[in-house]
Symmetry: C2
Subunit: 389 residues, 2 copies
């Protein structure tokens, strides 16, 4: 799987007349080699020469880690630490010269040469190598990631399965009087343990942070459900609350997205009405996914349902986003994205309506574009009855 | 607390001859206003004019969130979503013109005008506003964050307290035959629930992801303890393992760092020797923290202990880093950082030694520089006997 991707990168390098690709995005390392790392202030780069061994340049603390995760990185060149007596970019320039790239044409995903987290500072690699020509080439790996292979879809499907378990437990555990973290952490723990027991000793999480399987509310409890990106809440679940949940699992670094609007207790007429409009909007979007459709059209179809009932003012975001190794990826189900859908693209589908002070309503499902239409690979029930607690 | 920080920003703007500060780093939003958000592909910026209301420019989905977290943001200007029919940077340029900044001098923390996550693309704000002059001013907020106020130290101290509980439970729960996530998630759940019950209904987590209190191993179990930034492990804890743990808690967005090397079962002579050298190195560093000392000197003192026994080859990283709202912050306890320590600076202190195939040894403590020396505010025991399971 990885070798095929690297071959595709090299083919693209040849077509663009580039001698090497210099990558700073850790997700690209994971995508191309299976090795992932904790991104910090310490710069790290993966260099893929067109006809030479793949080289990792980065902090010494990764030196023993890499061979445990991949055999595709032939050379590991490290600096002691950041900022160091000699700056990492000075080391990187030296390493690149050593690879014979000092006067070559190098594609790069970030002209600074470092992902630049947590207070990192440094002069850009392009200034350290005046004889080399750097060409913005972030799109090489980004474009490859847009259409998922059957292996990737298998991983996303497996993620959806364990997300479904985590969500089932989350719903079972949701009860008035409980704090959202209480419910979320219990469901995530139980689902992760069952996942490990089922998948066996070979399973391990690949991504940084989080748990193998996870479910939670991220604060979207009661009136806070009207805040699409709430972070947390002080208040406990109570009878009559609308809650918005989310669940996923890490399978080979891949994500899926499953979110549900649930009602704690007998739904009121107003809650029912909002729920119905939200579900109609999601249904309209789901019906529009197919090869040849435009991303913007799917967004338009969902929005139209909401606009038709006069609730444009309750909309807060577009219909969805690509998903794979990252939580959000291009393309976007947005009125401004006219990308044509192709088999293998994977999206979240999540139109929402939000009335401040009352509640928010949003389901999110993961949808894969197939040869002749689409398939919803998150299969948790979406109807109000199933989601009434 | 926040108003004082904003006043300090404006004073600095005046001194530099800047008309406004344009911030894209969400941690700066949190530091200056108490409002934090989930950074995605959608650009967001906080604009602090020298003599006008603070303005948030960002996605519509944050519109109802901001007033719930801060009253310091006077104006909220939003675009529908990303990428949109009109790009967010075009909206931002319009908003800035509307604020009367179109031909002014604007300090900025990122010349692109967007934090640029998850596949974001766009032409930089500096190109959208040809008559304005943008000046790199990332250091204004970064410099303010280096020396912590007494309020901040109180929050970090409170974080250390709940990190201590999480770690106590983690050690209690650690036992041969268990998977690291099993131990970690149970300890994090129990500690978070007790934390909420103790701090009461007003407590809520401020940061994105993670749990209120947390403890875990991040894969550093057995021979994987030799990988300083392991992400996860397949294998379960077994008798004879060296394990490296970590614990923290989110208190008002602030972190602390507590890490311990623990031995499962009776330590071998080799394990004892490695543990002793690591502890001596940490003691040497701890003794060196004081106002007026250089960061590089603390690093040198820890390294000297390890080098003296001939184990330079077992070193993988420097001695530590600043800590506060982010996991790592400048300054760095690194041979290349000659920052002079001042009262109120807070650091992790964590020299380590790592023998591939055998094990790693690292404690990390959080240390605050005081008027006449330093104080270790993580108080979990550091001796081998206490850390033998």
């Amino acid at each position: 799987m990885y070798q095929k991707r690297i071959d595709a990168v090299r083919k693209e390098l040849a077509e663009r007349g580039l001698d090497a690709l210099y990558l700073t995005n850790g997700i690209s390392f994971l995508y191309l080699t299976g090795y992932s790392y904790i991104a910090t202030e310490r710069p790290a780069a993966l260099v893929i020469p067109i006809d030479d061994e793949i080289t990792f340049m980065g902090p010494l603390l990764e030196v023993d880690h890499i061979p445990l995760r991949t055999s595709l990185i032939g050379r590991i060149r490290t600096y002691p630490d950041y900022p160091g007596q000699k700056h990492p970019m000075t080391h990187f320039a030296y390493f690149l010269r050593d690879l014979g790239l000092s006067n070559k044409v190098i594609g790069i995903d970030n002209l600074s040469g470092a992902s630049g987290r947590w207070g990192y500072r440094g002069s850009p690699i392009v200034k350290k190598m005046p004889k080399a020509r750097f060409v913005e080439a972030r799109d090489i790996v980004e474009n490859m990631r847009i259409v998922k292979s059957s292996e990737e879809i298998t991983l996303i499907r497996e993620s959806a399965k364990w997300g479904n378990l985590a969500h089932t437990l989350l719903q079972e555990f949701t009860s008035p009087g409980l704090w959202d973290y209480d419910i979320a952490m219990r469901a995530s723990l139980e689902a992760s343990l069952i996942m490990k027991k089922t998948l066996g000793p070979e399973y391990q999480a690949w991504r940084q942070g989080g748990s193998p399987a996870s479910a939670g509310f991220r604060g979207q409890i009661g009136s806070m459900s009207a805040i699409p990106h709430a972070l947390s809440t002080k208040v406990k679940v109570k009878k009559g609350d609308v809650v918005i949940s989310g669940a996923s699992a890490d399978v080979g670094g891949y994500n899926s997205e499953l979110e549900r609007t649930m009602i704690v207790g007998k739904p009121t007429a107003k809650q029912k009405r909002f729920f119905r409009v939200m579900l109609n909007a999601q249904n309209a979007a789901l019906a529009a996914f197919k090869p040849g459709a435009k991303c913007s059209d799917v967004d338009r179809k969902a929005s139209k349902v909401i606009q038709k009932v006069g609730w444009t003012r309750l909309m807060r975001h577009h219909t969805g986003h690509g998903i794979g190794l990252e939580g959000h990826e291009p393309p976007w189900l947005d009125i401004g994205d006219n990308t044509i859908m192709k088999p293998g693209m994977v999206f979240s589908c999540e139109p929402g309506i939000y009335e401040p002070g009352f509640a928010g309503f949003r389901h999110s499902d993961t949808v894969v574009i197939t040869e002749d239409g689409s398939e919803r690979i998150t299969y948790y029930p979406r109807d109000l009855e199933s989601l009434t607690i």
